[in-house]
Subunit: 442 residues, 2 copies
């Protein structure tokens, strides 16, 4: 039995310094200033040109500084890193841990890239390194994985982890917008950045998936090993075909252990998911994570994946965990050691291929022959009326088969002269247990 | 800073005795026997006539006993109470805590009724009393409320907490079954008990709601103070009208603090919820809990609310929390003291009233006059064709108004001679932020 000796007068309680006083930092300060959590006290704020950041409502005792070293040298118990990016954030986190501080961060890049090493350092120091806010903002998914379903043995994690992509795709779906129109709208409303490539190319979701794999599946992955495919080639017509197939299109981040748990599939890419599935039902900029366990089946966590206030709630929840338990539990939060687990890129699934062609007789026969040659069964051929013959979209769906075969078949088919644009190839995540909250009990 | 001194050789680890070796108890033993969690070791099983319960797969070192006292006298660290019901379960939990054991239970009745007193005793003993499995089975909602959204200040908790009712209502909705047909089907499939009254009358969900109010809103409530209304009067025709209103019917458990946080609304009753809402989207025997916080907005947790394996995962997750931290944190899990908070029964909402009448001219005028007399605005009158005039269902929807006014108006209207059956009165939970995962970001 452990014995806890407290040298603080009251149970719990900690002092906090925030590094980076942008949207999230200010939202954290507002929650702490609200009096909702008297045990957690903001004492320091560090930001470049801090004078212009200074606010009255944070409390008269807060020390405002331009110098991170001043934070390190201060007596604060916890440093909240909210500057983002790789450098100097990673270095600052190391310095804070080395100085005996606990650290809370929302920095997905640093944790996805250096989480295990930083956690080892935190453990060595007997300090916390918590990062609930790094994945899916206000959804307490890391704690849910680590504690909530700790009794299960997880096999698969799927999620919609990027609110910008989900906003764009659901607007294309619901309002019939083109990708560019939906992106412009997202920018106008502040849901997309001027350079949206980290979002639409899947890199943002990939970093979050790497963290989920660590916490939920207990595997360290090199984030760059996870394939990420952009949503940019998805066109308005694809939502029409998806609907005919009872599906919608989402940017799906997905990781799954092989049946023997020895290997790991992981990828971020646009995919068709059934309209009735949990993944389809998350609209706008929301996020969802659906975990599948050997014993407990599917459990879903959804909510606001981004935004200052939800992300700040995640940061403050981490602070309260530290206030309640200043010394971390002896086991780690992520696998704190071990070689990165190789990511298997090939996968089995039904597939959706949308061609854009200059129509002439014999095209379907030619394509069917190529697929047949690679041992792939064509499931259906769909063609919506009302499109010009010179730029005609049509869809072939393929029965479940290896992505390697599909890639080989499409490479062969690329030689045909009827293509107006390269085909769009999406997996169909339609397996029965695929995030589906169906109406029949399992 | 706290200092942790461990007197165990390995970090974590605990021995476990199970009291009650039914479906959940066996599922817990199976997970522990799977080797997924080497730190948690099953050493004792207690059940009446234990000889007939004995299984080989639980491990050769397990002690099987008929006597709870033998469990108390054994060196197990944790007793898992899975016998259910009030007595002797409550007494056994008290005895276990008094003997210095930690306790994990799935017993919603005992926790809803005596949680605060038992938690005080656990705290006095420096032991855990955990009960994640008591609410929403495999969904880690108590941990989500306590730790995951700890940084927020919660205002409202809504949920679908009874899988039997949700199965019946979704089958009535999707297959057009009558209540009795859906109940028979649920019985046949094992989703309803021979006597389903605790489920369909709302008492099961009420006990769970009382626990959620304690953990999430920090208020002790007397479970009997929470109004519970049965789903039995809901008829197939109501799903047709609900659909015309863009809604479905669910058994909704709902608790909300008043704006000044001084009072508490809480109830379990059938209600109309928008088809697009998170509550509507949970089909079959699944559960969902949607929490609404002052800072973070809505977060939803969904999954399998019952069943041996998901419930067992919740039990084992609690065991792992104890293995990781044998001494509980100094703060409580529920408000461990304080007078029960009175429950406000009156509420404001739009309302759905379905009448069943023997038709003659002037009925709508008579009813409209009664509502008008009570200051209630009628929003719409709906009448589906194809019903006999002698038993004609029609619906009036009322603009948002106090339930007290509606009750008074319906009491007045009860005197009219055209009623074939008493009207069905349901609140419409259609406010914008009501568990809705809409397509526009908030």
């Amino acid at each position: 039995m452990n014995v806890v000796i407290a040298d603080r007068p009251a149970p719990g309680g900690c002092t906090v310094g925030i590094a980076g006083f942008g949207t999230v930092g200010q939202a954290v300060a507002r929650i702490l200033a609200s009096g909702a959590h008297p045990g957690v006290q903001l004492t320091h704020v560090c930001n470049r040109n801090v004078a212009r950041k200074r606010v009255d409502w944070a409390g008269g005792e807060v020390v405002w500084t331009d110098s991170f070293q001043a934070l390190i040298d201060s007596p604060v118990d916890v440093i909240v890193e909210l500057i983002g990016g790789q450098d100097p954030a990673r270095r600052w986190i190391e310095q804070a841990l080395a100085a005996g501080k606990s650290v809370v961060t929302a920095n997905k890049q640093v944790i996805a890239g250096s989480g295990p090493a930083l956690l080892r350092e935190a453990r060595r120091q007997g300090r916390h390194l918590l990062f609930e806010a790094a994945v899916a903002g206000g959804i307490p998914i890391l704690r849910g994985l680590r504690d909530g379903v700790a009794g299960d043995r997880l096999r698969r994690i799927q999620g919609i982890l990027n609110g910008t992509c989900n906003y764009i795709l659901t607007r294309m779906e619901c309002a019939g917008l083109s990708f560019d129109e939906a992106l412009s709208e997202a920018r106008r409303l502040g849901y997309a950045e001027a350079d949206p490539s980290a979002d639409v190319d899947g890199y943002d979701a990939r970093a979050k998936l790497a963290i989920l794999v660590g916490v939920g599946l207990g595997r360290v992955v090199d984030v760059e090993d996870i394939p990420a495919e952009p949503i940019t080639p998805v066109a308005a017509i694809d939502f029409i075909y998806a609907r005919r197939l009872g599906c919608v299109i989402r940017q799906v981040a997905r990781a799954e252990l092989t049946p023997d748990a020895g290997g790991l599939h992981a990828a971020v890419r646009p995919a068709l998911v059934p309209e009735a599935s949990a993944l389809a039902r998350v609209g706008g900029s929301r996020n969802i994570v659906v975990v599948d366990g050997e014993f407990g089946g599917e459990t879903a966590f959804s909510g606001f994946g981004a935004g200052g206030a939800p992300t700040a709630v995640a940061v403050v929840s981490d602070l309260m965990a530290i206030a309640r338990r200043p010394a971390p539990a002896p086991d780690g939060w992520l696998p704190a050691s071990g070689e990165p687990c190789p990511v298997i890129r090939a996968f089995e699934a039904p597939h959706y291929i949308r061609f854009m062609i200059n129509d002439r007789p014999g095209i379907i026969a030619s394509l069917a022959q190529v697929f047949s040659h690679h041992g792939i069964n064509v499931d259906a051929v769909l063609q919506e009326p009302g499109w010009p013959k010179t730029e005609l979209p049509f869809v072939m769906t393929l029965e479940s088969c290896s992505s390697v075969s599909v890639a080989a078949a499409l490479a062969d088919a690329a030689g045909f002269d009827f293509h107006v644009r390269p085909p769009l190839w999406l997996p169909m995540r339609v397996d029965r247990s695929n995030g589906t909250a169906g109406s029949s009990p399992a």
